[in-house]
């Protein structure tokens, strides 16, 4: 029983990490007022560049760095389109996803089914042997711990630093922030690229550590789920953790249950995470007042300085 629980928890944490990473990045982007729908595309690009670089260099770490760069680069295109060229953010985000899928398929075409480099484990010797708590707390991949640290750092940044306050202000009212003299576009650009870097990292985690391999469209909608997570968390970091783990658990369960052989047809179980996302969105969104109070007031609205 202990063994089952241990391996269950360990696996759920691993499964939730890409969701948490991507959602944390998107949360920062959205708090600055930018709605980047291209998370799925950025994750895929991160996954493929991470895997390719990791495979070519034999180093997971370098692969993860490449993944971060790939996601950030794609988000820079999005930021340029929407912030400098004032494009419709919905269309640009979709363009990012479509391009990301195509690009990652193309780049990864020769790497399907190939084994990646050694994954990174941060096992503290001795401590990780304690039953249950050992593996859960100390036997995880470095990125699992990193995801907690990053979330905590983001929360501290948003609520305890002047720069974070400025970012929240830009998301609340970009006209007021501009009138006071804050560089709205620079702040939004940075926030967007942070989101891209995190999405790339999440993708890299999946292809280098979690699976670890490359397959076309391997993120299977996790990017969209991360977007839903930000809404579910009503744009607050603390809630993001709970949401990511809830979904991570469901996604892991759907894989686990299929492996075990339960008399429910496999497609239904595979569809479960997406259905649950819809249900969760419905539950959170129906309180319109709450959404309006917490949603950054300028989310998705283009900003033109001369207006």
């Amino acid at each position: 029983m202990i063994f089952f629980l241990t391996s269950f928890f360990v696996s759920v944490m691993a499964s939730s990490t890409p969701l948490l990473l991507a959602a944390t990045g998107e949360l920062v982007t959205e708090r600055a007022g930018v709605l980047n729908l291209g998370v799925e595309g950025m994750m895929l690009v991160g996954a493929v560049t991470g895997f390719v670089v990791g495979h070519l260099t034999g180093s997971t770490t370098l692969g993860l760095v490449a993944a971060i760069a790939g996601g950030a680069a794609l988000s820079a295109i999005f930021a340029f389109l929407t912030l400098t060229l004032l494009s419709n953010q919905t269309a640009a985000g979709l363009a990012l996803t479509i391009f990301g899928r195509g690009f990652s398929s193309l780049l990864g075409a020769g790497y399907v089914g190939i084994k990646g480099p050694e994954p990174l484990k941060l096992a503290a010797p001795g401590l990780s042997k304690i039953p249950f708590f050992g593996p859960v707390l100390f036997g995880q991949d470095a990125l699992v711990y990193a995801s907690f640290l990053i979330l905590a750092a983001v929360a501290w940044f948003l609520y305890r630093t002047h720069a974070g306050l400025a970012l929240r202000a830009v998301g609340d009212s970009h006209d007021a922030a501009h009138a006071i003299g804050y560089p709205v576009n620079a702040i939004r650009f940075s926030a967007t690229m942070f989101g891209g870097a995190m999405a790339g990292l999440a993708g890299g985690y999946m292809s280098l550590v979690y699976s670890p391999m490359w397959a076309e469209n391997m993120t299977a909608g996790r990017g969209w789920i991360a977007l839903a997570l930000v809404v579910f968390a009503t744009w607050r970091p603390a809630w993001l953790l709970g949401g990511a783990y809830l979904f991570g658990a469901i996604m892991y369960l759907s894989l686990y249950v299929q492996g075990v052989g339960v008399p429910i047809p496999s497609p239904f179980i595979s569809a479960l995470p997406y259905l649950v996302t819809v249900v969760v969105l419905a539950v959170i969104s129906r309180d319109r007042r709450r959404i309006r109070l917490n949603q950054p007031a300028c989310l998705g609205r283009p900003f033109y300085a001369g207006a």
Partner: protein, 522 residues
């Protein structure tokens, strides 16, 4: 508080030849301006005169195309608002730069770029705000504050940085008369302590009461300098518009005694659909044929909610709450109320009363589709729609290229004339208009008042919701005050005084507020 070691004894601010061009508009044309020390200097002009552009240049928000700025004896280029603040210039904008979801302290902190300035911020906010009669509590969230309280944040934010010049852009349009007096005290004190004030307004009586000198602008140029207290309001207005003003005549309308009210509201209570809105509470009034009722109040006291309830955008709980010509319309939507003769002009032109990107003819169809028979079997009759739009343009002197012009290409005054005209031409029973002349030049405003007066002559009931007390006293027969979602009993304008109204606006005379029913004012 302010150190007196001046660079020289000359004026604080000197502008020479400031010029700024926008596409299609020369906003500032070789403007000269001088603000001396310890002076309250008025910058006077109509909407569109170039005042806002000029002060944005002074504050570093934009760069002039030509001209120079001399600050305390030295020529400077204002690179940014942060730079202006460092030099000692503070600005309180007409539209506040506040963040609704953040606290007072956070809002103030955002206005201060230097980390040193942010030390002990909360204590300093309390200290300064109390010292100058503008009390504030640092941890309140802005969306809970009234408009007057929000303005205090703006002012305190400036004062914390020890300015030598404080620019105030139309500060009193959102204040009760009592709050205006308190503000004036604060400003006089600041000026005497060495912080000059550049006071932008088009409110002539206030300028005459407060300001030492005035620079008057029109269409981007400086047209006059004067000492306001030495001129009458009429003279100042004529300098602003460069025309002789005929006060619009209020013709005596014989209001039929005992006639059934055309528009009546009884016990209207409604929760506001907006997150930071004001709930309506037991609002009641009745408007007789030919009568113009004014609803006075400062923005944010339920006017939007009242307009939504009257127009049918938000339905009342019971049908009898609102009646048009005796018909209970409370549960009817806007189209049905229009069919019964109701017409409405909301506060926001672009995006609410009209669709900016659509043509005038399409906007004419927006509310006139049914009543003017502009459809056939579900399809739009384009020819008739264009004719309707053309008629409005002609009758109400709308300056535009024609019915195919985009609504957002029109100036504020012209679009407002079009929208008022569109409704007036369809109105049979009642017309409700929210802020009829906001952002509208004097000529267009006069045309709008004439149109409303003509409509009243024909026996319609008119309700004007306005923040502008002068307007209400000019045009209306009776006036009621909306404050905190409650409506006071309407009283004839002849019997009302500005102080009385101001007190009720500020919520002081509570016994005058409270549920008034239609029956009480036939």
């Amino acid at each position: 508080m302010l150190d007196e070691t001046a660079v020289d004894d000359g004026p604080y601010l000197l502008l020479r030849g400031i010029t700024k061009q926008f596409p299609g508009c020369l906003a500032n044309d070789r403007v000269d301006l001088t603000v001396a020390r310890n002076e309250i200097h008025a910058l006077l002009g109509e909407n569109g005169a170039g005042k806002s552009t000029l002060v944005k240049i002074i504050y570093g928000v934009m760069q002039p195309d030509a001209g120079e700025i001399v600050w305390r004896g030295e020529g400077v280029t204002m690179q940014s608002p942060a730079h202006a603040r460092r030099l000692g210039i503070g600005m309180v904008f007409q539209h506040f730069s506040l963040f609704e979801s953040l606290t007072v302290a956070e809002n103030v902190a955002l206005g201060m770029n230097d980390a040193k300035d942010r030390a002990n911020l909360r204590e300093r906010i309390v200290e300064i705000s109390q010292k100058y009669g503008l009390p504030l509590s640092p941890d309140q969230t802005v969306h809970d504050l009234s408009v007057g309280e929000r303005q205090r944040i703006e002012i305190v934010r400036c004062l914390l940085q020890n300015p030598r010049l404080l620019i105030m852009d139309e500060p009193t349009s959102v204040l009760t008369p009592q709050e205006v007096e308190k503000l004036f005290e604060t400003l006089r004190r600041l000026a005497s302590e060495g912080c000059s004030i550049l006071y932008i307004s088009h409110k002539l009586e206030e300028i005459r009461a407060l300001c030492d000198t005035a620079t008057i602008m029109r269409l981007g140029r400086v047209v006059a300098h004067c000492v306001p207290s030495e001129r009458s309001a009429k003279e100042l207005a004529e300098l602003m518009i460069a025309a002789q003003l005929d006060p619009p005549s209020r013709s005596r309308r014989i209001l039929a005694q005992g006639a059934r009210p055309r528009l009546a509201v009884e016990n209207l209570s409604q929760k506001s659909p907006h997150p930071f809105g004001t709930d309506l509470r037991e609002v009641g009034f009745a408007v007789s044929p030919g009568e113009i009722l004014g609803v006075a109040g400062i923005a944010g006291n339920g006017q939007t909610e009242l307009m939504d309830a009257l127009s049918g955008e938000v339905l009342a709980d019971a049908p009898e709450t609102i009646t048009l010509d005796g018909v209970a319309v409370g549960r009817m939507g806007p189209q049905e109320r229009r069919n019964l003769g109701g017409c409405f002009v909301p506060e926001e032109r672009n995006g609410h009363g009209a669709v900016g990107a659509m043509t005038l003819s399409e906007n004419a169809f927006l509310t006139g589709g049914a009543r003017r028979s502009l459809t056939r079997f579900g399809f739009i009759n384009h020819a008739r729609t264009i004719d309707f739009a053309r008629e409005i343009i002609h009758r109400f002197d709308v300056r535009t290229t024609g019915p195919k012009a985009q609504a957002r290409a029109l100036s504020g005054g012209n679009l407002q004339k079009f929208l008022v005209g569109r409704e007036v031409m369809q109105s049979r029973a009642a017309l409700v208009v929210n802020q009829p002349t906001w952002g509208v030049d004097a000529g267009a405003a006069a045309a709008i008042y004439r149109a409303l007066a003509d409509l009243a002559e024909k026996g319609a009931a008119i309700v004007i919701i306005s923040q502008d007390l002068d307007e209400i006293f000019l045009v209306c027969d009776r006036v009621a005050v909306i404050a905190g979602g409650r409506l006071s009993r309407p009283i004839p304008v002849k019997e009302a005084t500005i102080e009385q109204i101001g007190l009720v606006m500020g919520g002081a005379a509570a016994k005058d507020l409270g549920g008034a029913t239609a029956r009480e004012h036939a």
